[in-house]
């Protein structure tokens, strides 16, 4: 599909509405993206035509639902260039994917005095599960410092790596700053000391080409709803040998091979990690979200989003009182900022009065906010369907708000 912004916007019903008498400008894409009509129709179609529990059903509907469900697994495999579909596990979201690794990989492979390495810019969901694990195992959590621009300080990272490092769990693109981390280099360095690497792709998968085999990451986690797909669905990619070596996460139906009261043997991957009836409808609909992204291609999407970010930077840089937070040279389309003398929540509410949806606060990255000595930021995050006119409107709003305290 060629890149026609009006055609793209036409695929997203939710965008065509007014908020407080003004056209909705949706800039909260890092929190969740809107859904194209294909995803919405796939959800409806599933419930109208195919609803059935998957696997082991002898009837036609069960067979159809199973095929569609597994077709999404194949589509995810292709989307991240995994070797095989069995390496794709469906979860509730990024948070659950990370917790799954902490509870299973962590249970088996992390011991006393081992070290887990994360960065200052991690989301709470990539901090707390490791803290819990470290507490349980007597392991240590180490944090890679970042620069004032919001970039990992490479020397510090290298210094922290040691044979004690068992896992590096790192965000690919920061949700609060937009920084794209040099993960390829980081994975190589981590592997050199024998550590495994989990990549938090929640904010990168919608913008950047992902090739898990090329990157050689051991785990990749992300959420469907930040990828134009449904909420309540996430992915855990893991290398086969690791997934096979890991104990199961939840016990129940689907994940077993054979159950007696004496002993249970577990199913093969990926089913070993998908206990219970999964989120069938959302998995099936997610395939349409991937199809939408593939129809445009990440390079076209990234180019458009880069243009929007550059334009936003250009229009805001001279506004008196405007303070950008996170100025890394390599970023996804996130404009995080504060306004001198104003609380981010107030700024967010005033932008909302103009029909502009942004996120305010700590963005579930409190340690990162502490690093910058702030309580929170205002975050405008751009997606494929946003326009330059919308950016102009945002900049106009910011300028008007900033003037209140910065005359």
């Amino acid at each position: 599909m060629r890149f026609d912004i009006n055609e793209i916007r036409g695929l997203f019903p939710v965008l065509h509405q007014e908020v407080h008498g003004r056209p909705l400008i949706y800039f909260d894409n890092a929190a969740t993206t809107q859904k194209p009509i294909g995803v919405i129709e796939a959800l409806t179609n599933y419930y109208e035509l195919d609803n059935s529990n998957i696997h082991r059903g002898a009837h036609t509907l069960a067979d159809r639902a199973t095929r569609y469900y597994e077709a999404t697994r194949d589509a995810v495999r292709d989307f991240i260039k995994a070797k095989e579909s069995a390496e794709i596990i469906f979860t509730k979201g990024t948070t659950e994917s990370i917790n799954l690794v902490a509870k299973t990989f962590g249970k088996k492979f992390i011991g006393k005095d081992d070290e887990i390495l994360i960065s200052t810019m991690e989301h709470h969901s990539n901090i707390v599960p490791w803290q819990m694990l470290c507490e349980e195992k007597g392991a240590n959590l180490k944090v890679i410092p970042i620069s004032d621009e919001g970039e990992i300080i490479w020397e510090e990272f290298e210094n922290l790596l040691s044979p004690r490092t068992k896992l590096v769990s790192i965000v690919h693109a920061s949700n609060a700053l937009g920084t794209i981390n040099p993960v390829e280099k980081m994975i190589e360095a981590a592997h050199a000391v024998g550590a495994k690497v989990l990549l938090d792709g929640a904010q990168s998968t919608s913008h950047l080409e992902i090739d898990v085999q090329g990157l050689d990451c051991d785990f990749l986690v992300f959420s469907a709803h930040k990828l134009y797909g449904p909420t309540g669905l996430g992915v855990l990619y893991g290398k086969r040998e690791l997934l096979e070596a890991m104990p199961p996460f939840l016990g129940g139906g689907e994940m077993i091979k054979e159950v007696t009261f004496e002993k249970t043997t577990y199913n093969e991957i990926p089913f070993k990690f998908e206990a219970g009836t999964p989120n069938i409808a959302d998995v099936i609909a997610f395939k349409e979200a991937l199809a939408f992204i593939n129809s445009l291609g990440k390079s076209q999407i990234k180019k458009h989003e880069d243009e929007l970010l550059a334009y936003a930077n250009e229009l805001t840089k001279d506004i008196k009182g405007f303070i950008p937070v996170g100025t890394a040279s390599n970023k996804v389309s996130v404009l995080s900022f504060t306004i001198n003398g104003m609380h981010p929540f107030d700024v967010g509410q005033m932008l909302d009065a103009r029909g502009i949806a942004v996120r305010t606060g700590h963005h579930c990255t409190q340690p990162l906010m502490q690093r910058f000595g702030i309580e929170g930021t205002v975050r405008a995050s751009f997606a494929v369907y946003n326009t330059k006119t919308e950016i102009e409107n945002l900049a106009e709003g910011i300028a008007k708000i900033a003037r209140i305290k910065n005359k």
Binding site: H20, H343, F345, D346, Q349, M350, A353
Partner: protein, 143 residues
């Protein structure tokens, strides 16, 4: 000084002038926050924080000649504006007046829709705390 009802009517007519212009209305609430009297820095302590507010709101109260005097502050301007409205209505009244006050101006100016649910909950918490102070002084004065 006008009655509680009279002051609420005044506030409602001020907001009426702003009409449906949401942006101007929010700017106006922020401006009102600027009129709050200075809050003693020493009182910006955790025990004076109102629970249930997303932003920080400090509230203290004293009794003067049988009337309750409030002082408040917040770390956000919109919240300061909201509490300034409450103080305008409830400050320098007897505990009985405060406890029996029906704060209908909030609904009449459509504040819920204007500030959203998070801040509405905070506003309700502020009112509750102001009334709790009034109740405490009433008990003390009648003792």
């Amino acid at each position: 000084m006008s009655s509680i009802t009279g002051i609420q009517d005044e506030i409602v007519s001020e907001f009426d002038i702003l009409g449906d212009d949401r942006e101007s209305t929010i700017f106006y609430i922020m401006e009102l926050g600027g009129n709050l009297p200075d809050f003693p820095a020493a009182e910006q302590k955790d025990e004076n924080l109102i629970k249930g507010c997303q932003s920080k709101v400090w509230l203290i109260a004293n009794e003067e000649n049988g009337k309750v005097r409030y002082l408040a502050d917040s770390n956000t301007d919109i919240t300061k504006g909201l509490i300034s409205l409450l103080i305008r209505v409830l400050d320098n009244r007897t505990p009985e007046e405060i406890l029996s006050a029906d704060l209908n101006f909030i609904e009449r100016i459509g504040m819920g829709n204007l500030i959203g649910s998070q801040r509405s909950n905070g506003l309700a918490a502020m009112i509750k705390q102001m009334k709790l102070y009034a109740l405490a002084f009433q008990t003390k004065l009648n003792a």
